[in-house]
C-alpha cells in the first residue's frame, strides 16, 4: 500500500510539473501578444526607427525587418551550398571509418560552439585589413589601418558559419533517408555518380533539404549575439541615404544597421532606448515570424511523410 501511495504521489508530481511547463509556455506567448498587440499598426511596421527617448516618436521597425531579411538571405546563400556540398561529400564520397569520424566530430564540435564565440571569431577575422572591402576601413591611432569589421556582409558571413553545422547535419539525414535503390537504379541506367547525385539524390531528398534551410533561417533570425557584435549596435541603416535606392546597395551592405533582435535589445530597459512597449511590439513580430517558419517546417515534413506512404 505504501508503495502504491508513493507511486501515485510521484505521478501527480509529474502532472504538476507538466502543468507548470504548459503554463510557462502559454504565459510567455500570451504575455508578448498582450503587450505587443496594441503596438502593431501599419505605421509601426512601415516606418524607420528614430533615435529618441520618448515612446511616441520612436518610429517603426521597417529597417530592422529589412535587416533581418538581408542577414537571413546572406547567411543562407553562404551556408546552404556549402552545407549541401559537404553533406554530399560525406554521404557519397568520403571513405568510411576514420576520415568520416573526424569530419563528423568536427561538425559536432562546431555545432556546440556558443554563438557569442562565433561572433568574436567573425570580429577577429573581419577586422583584418585584408577584409576591409566587406566593411569600411578605419585609420587607427598609430596610423595602422584596420577594417571596421561590422557590416551586413560580415554579419551575414558569420551567420553562415554559425548555421553551417546544422545545415550539414540535417542535409546528411535527408540524403540518408533516400532509399539506396534510387541510386542503384540510376547506376543501372548508365548514369555516373555525379549525374546520379544531381538528377536523383538531390531531387529525392528535396524536402529534407528545404527543412534544413528553414531551420538555419530560424537560427539566424533569432540570434542576437552575432548581430550585436558584428553588425554594430546602430539603430538605422548607416550607408549612403536613401539606403533603399538600388545604386546604394553596396554602401548599405558594407555599413551597419539593425535587425529585429538587436532592435529589441536596444529598446529594452537593458539597452540605451528604454522603451519596453516598442520592444514588445518588435518581439511580437519576431515570434510571429518564428511561428510561421515552424508551420512551414511542419508542412514540408508532412509532404514528405505522405509521399513515403505509397512506397
Amino acid at each position: 500500500m505504501n508503495k502504491l501511495l508513493r507511486d501515485s504521489i510521484m505521478k501527480n508530481l509529474c502532472y504538476f510539473a507538466c502543468i507548470i511547463t504548459i503554463s510557462i509556455c502559454a504565459g510567455i506567448i500570451l504575455y508578448v501578444f498582450i503587450k505587443g498587440y496594441s503596438q502593431i499598426t501599419p505605421k509601426f511596421l512601415f516606418s524607420e526607427p528614430t533615435p529618441t527617448f520618448s515612446e511616441k516618436n520612436a518610429g517603426g521597425i521597417s529597417t530592422p525587418i529589412i535587416g533581418t531579411i538581408l542577414l537571413t538571405l546572406i547567411g543562407t546563400a553562404i551556408a546552404f551550398p556549402w552545407g549541401l556540398a559537404s553533406a554530399l561529400y560525406l554521404t557519397n564520397y568520403a571513405p568510411k571509418g576514420k576520415v568520416m569520424n573526424m569530419f563528423n566530430l568536427a561538425i559536432e564540435v562546431l555545432a556546440g560552439v556558443p554563438t557569442i564565440v562565433i561572433a568574436i571569431f567573425g570580429l577577429a577575422i573581419f577586422t583584418n585589413p585584408m577584409f576591409g572591402f566587406l566593411s569600411s576601413k578605419v585609420e587607427g591611432v598609430e596610423g595602422i589601418s584596420k577594417a571596421f569589421g561590422r557590416s551586413f556582409l560580415v554579419a551575414g558571413i558569420t551567420m553562415g558559419i554559425m548555421i553551417l553545422p546544422y545545415i550539414i547535419k540535417t542535409c546528411i539525414e535527408a540524403i540518408k533517408s533516400v532509399p539506396p535503390s534510387y541510386m542503384e537504379a540510376s547506376y543501372a541506367l548508365g548514369a555516373g555518380k555525379r549525374q546520379g547525385i544531381m538528377k536523383v539524390l538531390i531531387p529525392a531528398s528535396k524536402n529534407g533539404i528545404i527543412t534544413a534551410i528553414i531551420l538555419g533561417m530560424g537560427r539566424i533570425i533569432g540570434d542576437t549575439a552575432i548581430v550585436w557584435l558584428t553588425l554594430g549596435g546602430t539603430l538605422r541603416m548607416t550607408g549612403i541615404q536613401p539606403w533603399f535606392m538600388p545604386e546604394n546597395y553596396l554602401s548599405t551592405l558594407t555599413n551597419t544597421g539593425s535587425t529585429l533582435t538587436s532592435y529589441i535589445f536596444y529598446t529594452s530597459p537593458a539597452g540605451e532606448g528604454n522603451m519596453p512597449s516598442v520592444s514588445f511590439g518588435a518581439s511580437l513580430v519576431l515570434i510571429i515570424i518564428i511561428i510561421l517558419l515552424n508551420l512551414v517546417t511542419d508542412y514540408v515534413g508532412s509532404i514528405g511523410k505522405l509521399k513515403g506512404v505509397d512506397e
Binding site: D7, M10, K11, L13, C14, Y15, A17, C18, I20, T21, I22, I28, Y31, W82, A85, S86, L88, Y89, Y93, F103, A106, I107, E108, V109, L110, G112, V113, P114, I116, I120, F121, L123, A124, I125, I161, L164, I168, G192, K193, R194, G218, I221, G222, D223, T224, A225, W228, L229, T261, I264, F265, S268, P269, A270, S283, L286, I287, I290, N294, D298
Partner: protein, 337 residues
C-alpha cells in the same frame, strides 16, 4: 560507314573525357568545401587563441583564480597603451557561469523530464502531439525574448519579494563589497536560464522516450507492473542516454547564453559569498558569455579585447568538452548494445 563509326567513337571519347573531367572537378569541389567546413573549428581555435594570447600569457593561471574583472576593465579603459598590464582575473565570471548553469539545470531537469513523461505516456495522443509541437516552438524562441520577459517580469518580481530598502542600504554601505541590489541577480539569471533550457530538455527527453522499443513496455505490462512502474523502472532507464544527451545540450546552451543573461543577471563581476546567506542569490553577477556582450563597447582597447577573447577561449573549451562527452555517451551506449 567505317569512317562514320570512327568519328562517332572519337566523339564518344571526347564526351567521356569531358565527363570524367567534370566528375573529377565535382568530387574535389565537394571535398574542398567539406574540408573547409571541418577546418572551421580549427580556424576558430587559432584566431581566438592568438587574439587572447597577450592576456593569457600575462595573467597565467591568475585568469581563473583572481577576481575583479569589472574593475580591471574600467581601469584598463582609462590607461594609456604604455601602461597596460594585460592582467585580468575572471574568477567571478567563471563562478557565475557555473552557478547559473547548475542552478538552471537543477530547476529544469526534473520539470523537463516529468513533462516529457506526461506528454509521451500519460496524455491523450493528439493532445500530446500538440503539446510537443508547442514545446518545439518554445525551444525555437530567440533568447532575446526570454531576456526581455525576464527583465520585465522576473526582475521586478524578485525586487518586490526579496529586496527591502534596509537590505539595499546595508549592501550599498558595505565596505568590502559595495553593490546595488536591484533585482538583476544570480537568481533572475537562474530562473530565466531554467525557462530557456527546459523546452530543450523536454523535447529531447520526449524523443528518447518515444524511441524506446514498444515491446519493452508490453513486456513490463505483461509482467503485471502498473503503468507508472513500467515508465519509472523500464522506459526511463532505457531512454537514459537520450535524456542525458539532452541535458548536456541544455548545459551547453546555458553556459554559452550571452544576451538573456547580460540583460537580467546584473552585469557586475562578483563572486557570490556563501556567508551572506540568502543574499547569495540576490547579488548581481556577470557570466563569461555575457561579459563579452556587456563590455564589447570597450573592445577598441587592445588589452580589453584580449581579455574578452580569453573569456571566449574558456567558453570554447567548455563547449568542446560538452560535445565530446555527448559523443562519449553515444559511444558507450552503442558498445554496450
Amino acid at each position: 560507314m567505317a569512317k562514320l563509326e570512327a568519328t562517332k567513337s572519337i566523339e564518344n571519347g571526347s564526351h567521356q573525357r569531358k565527363n570524367t573531367v567534370k566528375d573529377f572537378v565535382f568530387k574535389y569541389l565537394l571535398l574542398s568545401l567539406a574540408l573547409l567546413g571541418a577546418m572551421m573549428i580549427v580556424f576558430i581555435f587559432i584566431f581566438i587563441l592568438s587574439k587572447s594570447w597577450s592576456v593569457l600569457r600575462a595573467s597565467g593561471l591568475g585568469f581563473i583564480t583572481d577576481g575583479g574583472f569589472s574593475k580591471q576593465i574600467s581601469t584598463s579603459y582609462n590607461l594609456s597603451p604604455a601602461e597596460q598590464t594585460f592582467k585580468f582575473g575572471a574568477l567571478g565570471l567563471l563562478t557565475a557561469t557555473i552557478l547559473s548553469t547548475v542552478g538552471a539545470l537543477i530547476l529544469a531537469i526534473p520539470v523537463g523530464i516529468a513533462s516529457a513523461i506526461i506528454i509521451c505516456e500519460f496524455s491523450h495522443r493528439a493532445f500530446g502531439t500538440f503539446l510537443q509541437s508547442v514545446i518545439r516552438l518554445l525551444a525555437c524562441i530567440p533568447s532575446i525574448i526570454y531576456g526581455l520577459i525576464g527583465l520585465m517580469v522576473v526582475v521586478p518580481f524578485i525586487k518586490e519579494t526579496f529586496i527591502f530598502p534596509q537590505l539595499q542600504i546595508q549592501y550599498l554601505s558595505d565596505p568590502v563589497l559595495r553593490m546595488q541590489l536591484s533585482g538583476k541577480s544570480l537568481l533572475a539569471g537562474i530562473i530565466v536560464l531554467a525557462i530557456m533550457i527546459m523546452p530543450t530538455i523536454t523535447a529531447l527527453s520526449a524523443d528518447a522516450i518515444r524511441a524506446v522499443p514498444k515491446n519493452y513496455k508490453e513486456a513490463g505490462l505483461a509482467m503485471g507492473l502498473s503503468h507508472w512502474r513500467v515508465v519509472s523502472r523500464i522506459i526511463i532507464p532505457a531512454a537514459r542516454s537520450g535524456i542525458f544527451a539532452g541535458i548536456i545540450l541544455a548545459a551547453g546552451r546555458g553556459t554559452g547564453e550571452a544576451i538573456a543573461l547580460s540583460m537580467v543577471a546584473g552585469g557586475i563581476s562578483n563572486v557570490p559569498q556563501l556567508s551572506h546567506g540568502g543574499v547569495f542569490f540576490l547579488t548581481p553577477v556577470l557570466t563569461l558569455a555575457s561579459a563579452i556582450v556587456n563590455k564589447s563597447e570597450a573592445m577598441s582597447v587592445p588589452a580589453i579585447q584580449s581579455a574578452l577573447f580569453s573569456c571566449g577561449v574558456i567558453l570554447l573549451l567548455t563547449s568542446v568538452i560538452f560535445s565530446l562527452s555527448t559523443k562519449l555517451v553515444e559511444h558507450t551506449v552503442r558498445s554496450s548494445k
